[in-house]
């Protein structure tokens, strides 16, 4: 295959993955919508409780409906999971072919588009890996919805043609630095979703019916969020405060230069450090800790995509932004 064919394969694979993710999202939405009790059923149930006569018939109807509903929920849940699995394979193909399209072949981490496609890929992979261990089925619509939205952003605004790596990126540290940063980003995203669910549930209270019953209890959510964050934080530390500075020293002559991307990575680190502290502090655990986790997630993704549009002086802006005059090598 020629490089051009690889490149178009990659673009098509991203499109296909996007469509399949979208189908998975639909399946999960049907799954959640099926959890909602039809109003008539509820009314019937209530009236049956009041009226002695004919109550048993209504009750029978109701339980029949419940079974059918439970089946539908389970079916669409499985369907969504299966579709997500298919999509992530295609997603992986997109990444590999992206690397094959470059001459010379390289890792697919050369610009913002590729970082974003890799980041979303890692979110889904982490979700699938942790799915059973942490019973993440409830998270499906949020994860898939997030990935669909972010992939759209990547394709519409960030897409860039395949080009060779800039010299500054051409280093073994690219693999170590980016892989660890992307793993941490994927995990933080899952943890953030758990924290958002925690906050929603805290506001709405424990539900006895409807879609919210899918979401685990507050204590479970809190512990889940903590565990994922506790995994992601050391990885982030490794990516941002160890491999980042080592590489920056080799490529840019300063191990810490207060470059906007560095600043925001530092901010993210500090916010998540605060989250871990908050969980152990009276008056901060629970709601405030969850708020901090969400704030951390916001800074993380702002740093990932947003900062490039606020600051053009960043040496990390690979989105084809003009580099500073003093260092035209670093494109």
């Amino acid at each position: 295959m020629t490089d051009l064919m690889w490149a178009s394969l990659s673009d098509q694979a991203v499109a296909v993955a996007g469509v399949v993710y979208f189908l998975a999202l639909l399946a999960h939405l049907v799954e959640w919508a099926s959890l909602r009790e039809p109003k008539e059923a509820r009314v019937a149930a209530e009236s049956s409780a009041g009226a002695a006569a004919g109550g048993s018939v209504a009750l029978a109807e109701r339980t029949g409906g419940t079974e059918e509903r439970a089946e539908r929920v389970a079916f669409f849940g499985r369907l969504g999971f299966l579709l997500t699995g298919i999509a992530v394979v295609v997603h992986g193909v997109a990444l590999v072919s992206r690397g094959m399209a470059a001459d010379p072949n390289r890792v697919p981490w050369g610009n913002m588009y590729e970082f974003t496609v890799s980041g979303t890929f890692m979110v889904v992979v982490m979700y699938l890996v942790l799915h059973r261990r942490f019973s993440l089925a409830w998270m499906a619509p949020f994860v898939v919805g997030f990935v669909v939205a972010t992939l759209m952003v990547a394709v519409i605004w960030l897409h860039a043609a395949v080009s060779p790596l800039t010299d500054a990126l051409n280093s073994p540290w690219l693999v170590i630095h980016v892989v660890s940063a992307v793993i941490a980003t994927g995990a933080f995203t899952l943890g953030g979703i758990a924290s958002i669910a925690y906050l929603v549930k805290l506001r709405r209270g424990e539900a006895t019916s409807g879609p919210l019953t899918r979401v685990p209890s507050l204590a479970t959510l809190d512990r889940l969020a903590y565990r994922i964050h506790a995994f992601a934080f050391p990885v982030w530390t490794f990516a941002v405060l160890i491999t980042g500075p080592i590489w920056a020293h080799e490529a840019w002559s300063r191990y810490w230069n207060w470059d906007p991307k560095e600043v925001w990575a530092f901010i993210t680190w500090v916010v998540y450090a605060a989250y871990l502290h908050a969980r152990a502090t009276a008056g901060w655990k629970g709601r405030n800790a969850a708020l901090l986790a969400v704030a951390g997630l916001a800074t993380l993704w702002f740093n990932f995509i947003g900062i490039n549009y606020f600051s053009t002086s960043s040496m990390h802006s690979y989105a084809g932004v003009i580099s500073s005059v003093a260092s035209p090598l670093l494109g």
Partner: protein
């Protein structure tokens, strides 16, 4: 969940931790209003406040918030040129921003204040915690609570084994799982119970992490105080000697002295880059490489090095980085007297990625004085009547400059930037129709200047490289610090401190099921799930295979063996 479990280790809770106000103070019986504090108490109260967990949290968040402006407003330490441009565009905001130190946020007083307070808070947290930890290390696991079944995680079972047998097995099981046991004679109430504790290293990891943060900061500070950064543009073929006057820009730490410069010289023998002529990266270059010949010390042996991006040259304590390149047009300039006053190659600075470059030519000895200022196009093309360069590769090098005469400040002795023409006392030469007179040249061409000023010959183009030269002492310290911090972090996150108690009672009556065993487990870090641990221990006690349960330990990253 229980007693001491959720108390953040060592941090003083401000609600409960305020220094108790003594009823009578040392100076006698002077009546004091409730809540009034003496100076010492006030000091102690302040110390408690600063070192409290809540303050540490607020300071952390403040630090994050304070770092934001530096990512949006150009920073003089990062890009001085951008700062100048920004100041030109915002004349009204500039004085205010300057007073707030917003152009160098990370050196400003308020930013320093936040992290210094954070460090004080950190020290105030580390010191008492270390003492507490050292005491705990020597201590023994606490005696079993009177009522084990009140703990959230407990199990009870009966057996017909002897009390002593069960106790002995409990000790063996817990010891095998690397628990520390309370000696049997450590308390009478403990006679029929086993107390065990493990996970002491968690707090060690915690302390290591916090101490390492200080180490990183120390390394960072050493680099900032004793190091320097300098940049210089060197023409191909030119030699650089490492002394202060050689640098274009030099940014020393406040404790850096010129004597600290390593004596070395290097010559830029060659510079090459691969220009892409097709594909999406067309017009950009890759694989920059510059051949250097360098000499460590005044009379060291001559060595050569291929300087590339990501491959800095290290000479002694100094690192040399390749960070930029550009073009230097070589001009032969004759003045009005017909003498050759300059044959230099003058570096022109790229304005954007197309390598359209701006530069100034100052023939200082020319009589009468004149100067040139203008643009260099590496690959000149006239597109729709506009001069542009189609790529950064020097395929069709072209110069287009304007001409200035009069007082150009060559002789007034003040330091002048080589990239700016001082035009305050100068006049621009114009054509008859009033438009600026231009010197447009391609290699090999010569242009006679009007008014008998002389002539300019464009001999050719050669590359220049921009190198960054820096000494960063303390970088090793910072690296060791951050690695230790990571190790400590892993310990503090994944080592689970746990207590397990086993109490054995002789129930009334004899025979089967006469011995009652209570087992309870407690996770002291909060958030840990100990049901799996408990199940495993009980299974071992009863001599059964452990229940197969995924994630039996209830935790990540730890095995209970």
């Amino acid at each position: 969940m229980s007693l001491d479990e959720r108390r953040p280790e060592g941090h003083v809770d401000p609600v409960h931790g305020v220094a108790p106000v003594e009823e009578t103070s040392a100076d006698g019986g002077r009546a004091r209003r409730p809540g009034e504090l003496g100076p010492r108490e006030l000091l102690r109260w302040t110390w408690r406040q600063v070192t409290s967990m809540r303050t540490a949290l607020v300071l952390l968040l403040l630090l994050a918030l304070a770092a934001v402006p530096g990512s949006v407003i150009p920073q003089s330490g990062v890009d001085a040129l951008k700062v100048t441009q920004w100041k030109d565009q915002h004349p009204q905001l500039t004085p205010l921003y300057e007073r707030l130190g917003l152009f160098s946020v990370y050196d400003s007083a308020w930013f320093s204040a936040i992290y210094l307070l954070l460090m004080i808070s950190l020290v105030g947290c580390i010191l008492p915690r270390t003492l507490v930890y050292l005491r705990a290390l020597r201590g023994t696991p606490p005696a079993a609570p009177r009522n084990l079944t009140r703990l959230p995680d407990h199990t009870t079972y009966t057996t017909d084994e002897d009390v002593e047998v069960v106790l002995e097995r409990a000790r063996a099981v817990l010891r095998r799982r690397r628990y520390r046991l309370r000696p049997a004679d450590a308390g009478a109430a403990d006679g029929l119970a086993v107390s065990a504790e493990r996970g002491y290293l968690r707090e060690a990891g915690n302390l290591l992490f916090h101490v390492s943060v200080l180490v990183v900061l120390a390394g960072f500070a050493i680099g900032g105080l004793f190091g320097y950064q300098g940049g210089v543009i060197i023409n191909q073929g030119a030699t650089f000697a490492n002394n202060l006057t050689s640098y274009d820009d030099f940014d020393p730490g406040s404790l850096f002295g010129p004597d600290d410069l390593d004596p070395f010289t290097f010559t830029v023998d060659d510079f090459s880059a691969d220009w892409l002529r097709s594909g999406p990266g067309k017009g950009t270059a890759r694989a920059f490489s510059s051949d250097l010949t360098y000499r460590d010390g005044v009379d060291g042996p001559e060595q050569s090095y291929d300087l590339r991006v990501n491959h800095p040259l290290t000479i002694g304590d100094t690192d040399v980085f390749l960070i930029g390149h550009g073009y230097s047009p070589r001009l032969t300039i004759r003045d009005g007297r017909g003498q050759v006053v300059s044959t230099d190659a003058t570096p022109f600075l790229p304005q954007d990625q197309s390598f359209l470059s701006f530069g100034v030519v100052k023939p200082r000895n020319a009589q009468p004085a004149f100067g040139l200022e203008g643009l260099f196009y590496p690959a000149y093309v006239l597109a729709d009547g506009n001069p542009v360069t189609v790529t950064g590769e020097d395929l069709n090098p072209t110069l287009s400059m304007t001409l200035w005469t009069g007082d150009l400040g060559y002789d007034d002795g003040s330091a002048q930037s080589v990239y700016i023409l001082d035009k305050d006392g100068a006049t621009q030469i114009e054509k008859a129709d009033g438009t600026p007179y231009r010197v447009d040249l391609q290699p090999g061409q010569t242009q006679q200047l009007p008014d008998g000023l002389g002539s300019v010959t464009f001999d050719g183009v050669q590359p220049w490289v921009r190198v960054q030269i820096s000494q960063t002492p303390g970088k090793g310290i910072a690296l060791v610090g951050v690695v230790l911090a990571l190790v400590g972090l892993l310990g503090s996150l994944f080592i689970r401190p746990r207590r397990v108690w086993v109490r054995v009672r002789r129930a009334d009556g004899q025979g089967a099921g006469a011995t009652m065993v209570e087992v309870a487990a407690l996770d002291r870090s909060g958030g840990g799930d100990v049901t799996g641990v408990l199940e495993g221990i009980v299974a071992d006690l009863r001599g059964q295979p452990a229940p197969s349960r995924r994630n039996a330990d209830g935790d990540d990253g730890e095995t209970s063996r």
